[in-house]
């Protein structure tokens, strides 16, 4: 039996194997998505993001348990950074998530960011489709630990949960542009620590202000206090995700996600084609010319792009 048929029969080993081809963007993986895409669109997809050490992986462990109690199958994509120096990566998110060897309703896959910026990996969207097609009801994407500007995740999922922890800044941080504007749920993790009340109040204030300024009159972003380690508040978080998830699967949001992925795939494929169409010697020559100020970066880039139409 081939991998697709085995995945269809619920074989997690085949799913894991196929995930490798998808992650590596090999022909077999690309072809798999071609065949599976029509049967995707069933899962609720959730991004989970926040600074390093905020407790994202630990929280996911609690989310998995809660969803499993409700009879839902959960797929997790956990992304960690690739070393810009060696190309290697340490994938450590699994440490915080219990292994569930007897439960075919849970699949956790670590991915390295492989040079992609914004807290994601190159094949993140395709991996979401794979887990969706494999019948997981909830697909969670844990980003690389991020700062303020890594908003990429919000473009590829139905809704995004932003984790914050006490002691990470005052109210001015929450006035800044970026992730806070785009998240759908704010979570105060480690809410047993000093400063949690203050952080929750500040986030609620931001949420109320944003809502009052929003021309579409969107509801204020909920603030959920949790302690991922002891499980407090996780049920509330799941309830909030489910409530907002229903709204986020309307046509306008589905269009938004499709548009984002279309643009991302197109950008990526232009890049690959330009690289394939330009030979090493040409690139080295252009680099030399730009470094010597004989050509501007823009003109050199135009020349590389022209290789596409040759």
């Amino acid at each position: 039996m081939g991998l697709l048929a085995r995945v269809g029969a619920g074989d997690l080993a085949a799913l894991a194997r196929l995930a490798t081809y998808v992650e590596n963007q090999e022909p077999l993986g690309l072809e798999a998505i071609e065949r599976l895409y029509a049967s995707t669109g069933r899962a609720l997809t959730i991004g989970l993001t926040g600074p390093p050490g905020a407790g994202k992986s630990t929280l996911i462990d609690g989310l998995i348990s809660t969803w499993r109690e409700r009879g839902l199958r959960v797929g997790v994509i956990a992304i960690d950074p690739t070393s810009p120096l060696s190309g290697g990566a340490t994938l450590g998110d699994r440490i915080r998530m219990r292994e569930r060897p007897d439960d075919a309703g849970v699949f956790v896959r670590s991915m390295a960011s492989r040079g992609r910026r914004g807290g994601l990996a190159p094949a993140t969207a395709a991996m979401i489709h794979l887990l969706d097609a494999a019948g997981f009801d909830r697909v969670l994407v844990e980003t690389v630990g991020v700062g303020q500007e890594e908003v990429e995740i919000t473009r590829f999922v139905h809704l995004t949960v932003l984790l914050q922890i006490p002691g990470s800044g005052d109210g001015i941080q929450a006035l800044k542009a970026g992730l806070l504007e785009l998240a759908d749920i704010y979570v105060v993790n480690k809410s047993d620590l000093p400063g949690a009340d203050l952080l929750a109040r500040e986030l609620s204030g931001i949420a109320a202000l944003s809502s009052s300024l929003d021309p579409k009159g969107e509801d204020a972003v909920p603030v959920v206090r949790v302690s991922a380690v002891n499980g407090d508040g996780i049920v509330n978080l799941v309830d909030a995700i489910e409530r907002i998830g229903v709204r986020r699967r309307d046509a306008s949001n589905l269009d938004r996600i499709a548009r984002a992925e279309l643009v991302a795939v197109m950008t990526e494929s232009i890049r690959t084609r330009v690289e394939a169409a330009t030979n090493r010697a040409d690139i080295d020559r252009l680099v030399r010319e730009v470094a010597d100020r004989r050509q501007t970066p823009r003109r050199a880039a135009e020349e590389m792009l022209a290789a596409l139409s040759r």
Partner: protein
């Protein structure tokens, strides 16, 4: 075979699982190895401490790793390794299995007979491990 062609050479980093089986609480060696492999361009999944054979096999299966490295300093390798190899076999996991830690010389051959490809004792240079993995990590072929 489907119409799409299977790559015939490795195009992505080798994926390695570093696991600490059993009740052994010492993972400095494992962590240093994780770092060395990362710096050599491997993608390394680390499971953390106190893993049962079932947990190790589950992580290896879901992560689809090419290599499983078992680090053990508790002396319980003769009890744990047969169970781990059984679990891997039961799940048809084809990864290369290697071991490291404090394993007496006389135990090396029995472990190899179980299917452990190499045992790296204390003092093994990282480059020896890295070279061994590059040379022996399996290249797998599948059909859609």
């Amino acid at each position: 075979m489907s119409e799409s062609t299977q790559s015939t050479e490795r195009t992505a980093p080798i994926r390695v699982l570093i696991a600490k089986p059993g009740l052994d609480g010492h993972d400095r060696g494992a962590k240093v190895l994780v770092r060395a492999l990362r710096d050599a361009g491997f993608e390394v999944v680390y499971t953390g401490l106190f893993q049962t054979p079932e947990m190790i096999a589950n992580a290896a299966l879901q992560e689809d790793v090419d290599v499983i490295g078992l680090s053990i300093l508790s002396g319980a390798h003769q009890a744990l390794f047969p169970r781990i190899m059984d679990e891997l076999r039961a799940k048809s996991i084809k990864a290369l299995v290697v071991a490291g830690g404090t394993i007496p010389d006389e135990d090396v051959e029995p472990l190899k007979a179980l299917g452990v490809a190499a045992v790296f004792g204390p003092g093994t240079p990282f480059q020896a491990v890295i070279d061994f993995l590059h040379e022996n990590a399996p290249f797998r072929v599948d059909e859609l």
